[in-house]
Amino acid sequence: MTNINPIASPLASAGRAPATLATAGGWRAQLVKWRVPLSILALCLLPWVLPSKALAVNVLIYGVVCVGYNLLFGYTGLLSFGHAAFFGTGAYITGITIVHFGLPWYAAVMLGVLGGGLLALVIGALSIRTRGIYFSMVTLALAQLVYYVALQASNWTGGENGLRGFTVSKIDIFGLHINFLDPLQKYYVLMAFAGLALWFVSRILNSPFGAVIEAIRENETRARACGYNVERAKLMSFTLSGLICALAGTLSAMHLAIVPLDSLHYQTSGMIVMMTLLGGAGSFFGPFVGALAFLLMEDVFSIWTSHWQIVVGSVFILFVLFLPKGIWGALLAWRASK
């Protein structure tokens, strides 16, 4: 069987090389050091820049999903096509715990994250046994199974109608009484969670484990020869990535007060991949830029014409062809080359 045409030796692989390396010198080290505060600052401005608060919250949520997904795709080099399963499961567990068990919102969020993470552990353990295209296909197949289970278990998940009936209107954290229906207050509460996720990912990337997954992306054979248990590291990366996507799922459930069945479908997985690549796989803030660009394009173009998908598709093709590093990745590379 061909090892792809022509010889794609390790040297030529990883076209989407990481733009920021922890140990790179100069301004880039500064950027890495201050990336979390800078990102959070950028997120604070988002609701004032974008046309609508609801769009801002969506960018926030899909940004967190893509940052979680990027941990696996951009930093470990594994193209999974099933991450909608963790996003959707996080949302469903949050909704189900409130609707059927009447738990407070923070318990629901915690359970959603843990449930999604657990599912990621299971699907990860099964799919890590395969490699390359088969890995993408296994994750797609297993995620579709989760979709059909949710479709069939309609008394729990509301089936094709989606899950309803758990609107969170008031939140009390540390003595603060927040009206969750007010778009701005809701945005900043969800942004706090997003900031937490960004900080968690940044810690992982700066940690020794961060170096391990980047080594695996660079050259899996050599990583194993260095003494790393590659399978275990991949599984950890897969599970951590699933946890963060599940967190985004819980935020989405709280934001929309419904859990649509489509959140588990592979179209959502495909969208997550597109956003991450558009923004810049392998870079820290790239996924957020990708989510912003994708949703903004979708929102703006759908005003001009109902055929907005042809524009989004074409832009994506151009990026794969000419800007594999994505918007943010290309920006960093350009900044570095100056």
Binding site: M1, T2, N5, P6, A14, R129, I133, M137, Q152, P324
Partner: protein, 291 residues
């Protein structure tokens, strides 16, 4: 559950299997020979159906549509390979997959712009209308015709790849393109033709399926899922695998429909996940496939 019902169910499972094979063939060839996963496969299937429809409405005959559309779309496939896929060779294995994912979006929306987003009728050709009594039940003549065409296509492909010089070059190129270049074979041209052949076959599948299903812009997305299931179970890159897997899935879906019809689609994905976990390279794929 009398015998004739089970026999009829088995037969319709085989016929459905033939349709699944036709839908998966193009995907398996393109992946097997080029290592490219074509996520726009479903969209190409749909574009083939529309092309068949357009040619048939101009010439007023289904047969012209069946003949001309696959060739035209095959050439379109070659243009796609030349302009969009070729720059990606040598880059990471995910890039063609991601590019064709975007291409799928573009093709679906383009058809919506040109032909509108509601379904367009594609009546069964008059000679092939009606049913035939097989003793165990009634079966549409058109579907028997489709099973026949699929059989003929498989035979032709087997001869082309197995017995002709071009076939030898294609299979060798799949094994080791570097050596082929050393032997002076313009492997680029071979890939162009193979991609065109794959897309052409997919378009032919579209034209054949059009009379059975309504022709609409979204008909491709389900075909993509079915084709992946069949190709992966059969073993990426193995044509024999696709044929056997297609029939296997067709019969599995058909038998499930007897007991628990709503589980039909779940069975497909469950079968795919099962095969991937036990034998990642699929039933007939070669192990150690790094793609």
């Amino acid at each position: 559950m009398d015998f004739s019902l089970i026999a009829m169910q088995l037969f319709s499972g085989i016929a459905l299997g033939a349709i699944l094979v036709m839908a998966a063939l193009g995907l398996s060839i393109i992946f097997g020979m080029l290592g490219v996963v074509n996520f726009s496969h479903g969209a190409m299937f749909m574009v083939g159906a529309y092309a068949g429809l357009w040619v048939a409405s101009l010439t007023g005959s289904f047969w012209w549509g069946l003949f001309v559309a696959p060739i035209a779309i095959g050439m379109f496939g070659m243009a796609v390979e030349f302009l969009l896929i070729r720059p990606l060779y040598g880059r990471s294995v995910d890039d063609p997959l991601l590019l064709t994912f975007g291409l799928g979006y573009v093709l679906v929306e383009a058809v919506r712009i040109v032909f509108g987003s509601d379904g367009i009728p594609f009546p069964t050709p008059s000679q092939l209308r009606g049913v035939v009594n097989l003793g165990i039940g009634y079966f549409p003549i058109y579907r028997l015709f489709v099973v026949g065409v699929v059989g003929a296509i498989l035979l032709a492909l087997w001869l082309l790849l197995g017995k002709t010089k071009f076939g030898l070059i294609v299979r060798a190129g799949a094994r080791d393109p570097q050596i082929m270049r050393v032997l002076g074979v313009d492997i680029g041209k071979v890939w162009l033709l193979v991609f065109g052949l794959g897309v052409g076959l997919t378009a032919l599948g579209g034209v054949l399926a059009a009379p059975m299903r309504t022709v609409n812009p979204e008909m491709g997305s389900l075909v993509l899922a079915e084709a992946f299931v069949v190709t992966v179970i059969g073993g990426m890159g193995s044509l024999v695998g696709s044929v056997v897997a297609g029939l296997l899935v067709g019969i599995a879906v058909s038998m499930t429909a007897l007991i628990a019809p709503e589980m039909a689609q779940i069975v497909m994905f469950a079968l795919m996940a099962l095969v991937l976990l036990i034998r990642p390279q699929g039933l007939f794929g070669k192990s150690g496939v790094q793609a």
